[in-house]
């Protein structure tokens, strides 16, 4: 600095002032330096004007002894979001819904550079809360804040029942505010309206274990009870993942199935080419093939007939016969192929190839009895008979498919149940499925 700069005139240094309660004489400590507006005597619960040098009494309120004390004692310091905070105030508030009172706790945290932030606790569910600087927009049953949309959860009349410590605002017991919550787990957006002044705050769900760690609290962390309005669903994140996984596996299964279909597992167990001479008497046309083996467990058999028919047809009476048991499967197949030209151009009908699947054929030694028929006016027709043992792919793939589908359905169901539990506490409870008591 240049010479001649005068010494700075700092305002008087604030410090934790040692004061006494004007009502009961107990020591009052002001932790938030000059920020405190009201301070509550810890011993007689007089609400005092912290800005007044004599700590003028603003309000007295009745305290039922043995009421649940703050879980984080006043004066406790902890590190939250990388900043040191000291607990300076505590209040108990409640709302009444359909005659039932719900109580929650609020903690005022203070840092002389970063200011105040709040923690709320309801049945073991914690929220880390800051006051909004930007203005949310409300439309119908939703509120938008910084591009994020929150769903309306509840509007209720919040009452202050108990206060302790310091508050950077004028706090009074039995003060009412209209509290409205909008949720988008793990965050929630809340507005509090007193007279015509609205304050918005943004909360983020925080686990009790993280609070215990941040403030180095002794003892066990109270287990949260029920589902809280902005509690992140333990499964909803998995729902998308599991369906994506399911889809991925299903596609993979299809590819593998296609692979099985095209490769060795369905190689022909019998293949032979014959020539059908149409002029021969019908009775003599019947013949049997060599014996072939069908292996594996009971499954399907695919029989393919390829014939070089050209504007002709051939009809084959087949019998698949088990040599060991005599069991036979009879079926007739026609192969016909016609084509030509007419006024509309070229046309064709039929195919030179025909396939049939015979289901549930046990393993064993088999042969075919074949009896071909054809148009006697046509030249000889060559045809190839091919037998394939169908691999039991469909059953196997079906089981794999179900194995993937079941957890996906279970997780989706659990997620839906969690959301139903969440919203059942709101102003918009889900419609009851099944027996409704109403």
């Amino acid at each position: 600095m240049s010479t001649g700069t005068p010494p700075l005139s700092n305002p008087p240094k604030p410090q934790a002032r040692a004061l006494n309660c004007p009502q009961c004489g107990a020591a009052i400590v002001l932790r938030s330096l000059g920020h405190a507006e009201t301070v509550v005597c810890a011993s007689c619960h007089a609400i005092l004007d912290a800005k007044d040098p004599n700590l003028r009494i603003l309000q007295k309120f009745q305290v039922i002894t043995g009421e649940d004390p703050p879980l984080i004692p006043l004066g406790t310091r902890g590190k939250l979001r990388g900043t040191d905070y000291e607990v300076i105030g505590f209040q108990r508030r409640s709302i009444k819904v359909e005659g039932i009172r719900y109580d929650w706790h609020e903690y005022v945290l203070f840092n002389p550079y970063k200011g105040t932030r709040y923690l709320t606790e309801y049945c073991g569910h914690w929220n880390d809360i800051t006051v909004c600087k930007e203005l949310p927009t409300v439309q119908f049953a939703a509120a938008t804040y910084l591009g994020e949309t929150f769903k309306h959860f509840q509007t209720a009349d919040a009452n202050t029942n108990y206060v302790l410590g310091e508050f950077p605002w004028q706090v009074r017991v039995d003060e009412h505010a209209t509290a409205t919550d909008y949720v988008k787990p793990p965050r929630m957006l809340s507005s509090e309206k007193i007279a015509n002044e609205v304050t918005w705050s943004l909360g983020e769900y925080i686990y009790g274990a993280d609070i215990w760690k941040a403030f180095n609290l002794p003892g066990t962390v109270p287990e949260p009870v029920g589902v809280y309005e902005n509690q992140p669903s333990p499964v909803s994140d998995n729902v998308k993942a599991i369906w994506a996984g399911f889809l991925g596996f299903a596609v993979l299964l299809l590819i593998v199935m296609a692979g099985f279909d095209l490769t060795s597992n369905k190689s022909a167990v019998f293949e032979h080419t014959y020539i059908f001479q149409s002029g021969e008497p019908k009775g003599e046309a019947s013949f049997v093939t060599d014996i072939f083996d069908l292996e594996g467990r009971t499954s399907n058999v695919e029989l393919t007939t390829s014939a070089n028919v050209d504007n002709a047809w051939i009809y084959l009476n087949y019998a698949l016969i088990n040599q060991d048991t005599g069991q036979a499967w009879d079926f007739g197949r026609e192969v016909s192929y016609y084509h030509g030209y007419d006024s509309d151009g070229s046309w064709s009908e039929g195919s030179t190839k025909d396939s049939v699947v015979v289901p549930s054929v046990p393993a064993g030694h088999y042969y075919l009895r074949i009896e071909p028929e054809g148009d006697p006016k046509h030249p000889p027709v060559g045809y190839t008979v091919e037998v394939k043992r169908g691999v039991p792919v469909l059953g196997f793939f079906g089981i794999a498919f179900l194995a993937l589908l079941i957890p996906a359905i279970v997780i989706t169901w659990r997620s839906i149940s969690f959301e139903r539990a969440r919203w059942s506490e709101s102003d918009h409870p889900p419609i009851q499925i099944g027996n409704s008591e109403e």
Binding site: S2, G4, T5, P6, P7, L8, S9, N10, P11, P12, K13, P14, Q15, A16, S32, L33, G34, H35, E37, K51, D84, N111, P112, Y113, K114, G115, T116, V131, K133, E134, L135, P136, T137, T144, P168, W169, Q170, N196, E197, V198
Partner: protein, 210 residues
């Protein structure tokens, strides 16, 4: 920082103006409120001791806003029924002056505008909307405040005020506006909320135990 030095007409201490456009300053020794005239400094009053307050900012605190450095050269302290707040007068390194407000550690930087046709105090209601510079603002709170004291250099004379009314307007972005009804003609300040850490403040006050 090379403004001509004058002497305090009350105690004779050397007074150096850090900003050429400052109109008023407070003698750091005798607390006389001094107003610049064409020739010298005129004592117009005396500042009562400021109450203890808790802003971590003080005169000569330095920081950075939108990649421009600034230094705190003055301050107005206000009180209202829910507490107090500071308007710190800051000088940017491009010679512009602005305000860094600290309302219970909620920080914002704003600039004076030359807007005219502004509503008067009696016309403004909570919930009303106004658009300035294509940004829509909603009146969120109207604060009758009490002028509590000044320190350092200010861009205007501000020593004879007692009660002042402000209307704060917020937007859906971080922008905010303040209508200042302390003069006959309302004044409009436009600015935005800033994060403490983003200002990279130096020469802050230290708090015992923190």
């Amino acid at each position: 920082m090379t403004q001509p030095a004058s002497n305090c007409p009350n105690c004779g201490a050397k007074i150096v103006f850090q900003w050429s456009s400052s109109v008023q300053t407070v003698c750091p020794y005798c607390k006389s409120i001094l107003v610049r005239t064409d020739v010298d400094l005129e004592k117009v009053g005396k500042v009562a001791d400021l109450p203890p307050d808790s802003s971590p900012i003080q005169l000569n605190t330095e920081g950075i806003y939108r990649s421009k450095s600034f230094v705190v050269i003055g301050r107005i302290l206000y009180e209202y029924d829910q507490g107090g707040w500071n308007e710190w007068h800051i000088m940017m390194n491009d010679g512009k002056s602005a305000w860094l407000s600290d309302a219970q550690n909620e920080y914002a930087i704003s600039f004076a505008t030359t807007a005219t046709g502004l509503p008067t105090a009696s016309q403004v209601l909570i919930g009303q909307q106004y658009t300035w510079n294509k940004q829509r603002y909603t009146v969120s709170v109207i604060t009758p405040a009490h002028y509590r004291g000044v320190e350092g250099e200010l861009p205007f004379q501000y020593w004879d005020k007692t009660d002042v009314t402000f209307a704060d307007l917020r937007s859906e972005t971080g922008k905010f506006a303040t209508l200042d009804f302390s003069d006959e003609q309302p004044a409009l300040y436009l600015g935005e909320f800033v994060e403490f850490d983003d200002l990279k403040l130096k020469n802050l006050r230290s708090f015992e135990g923190w």
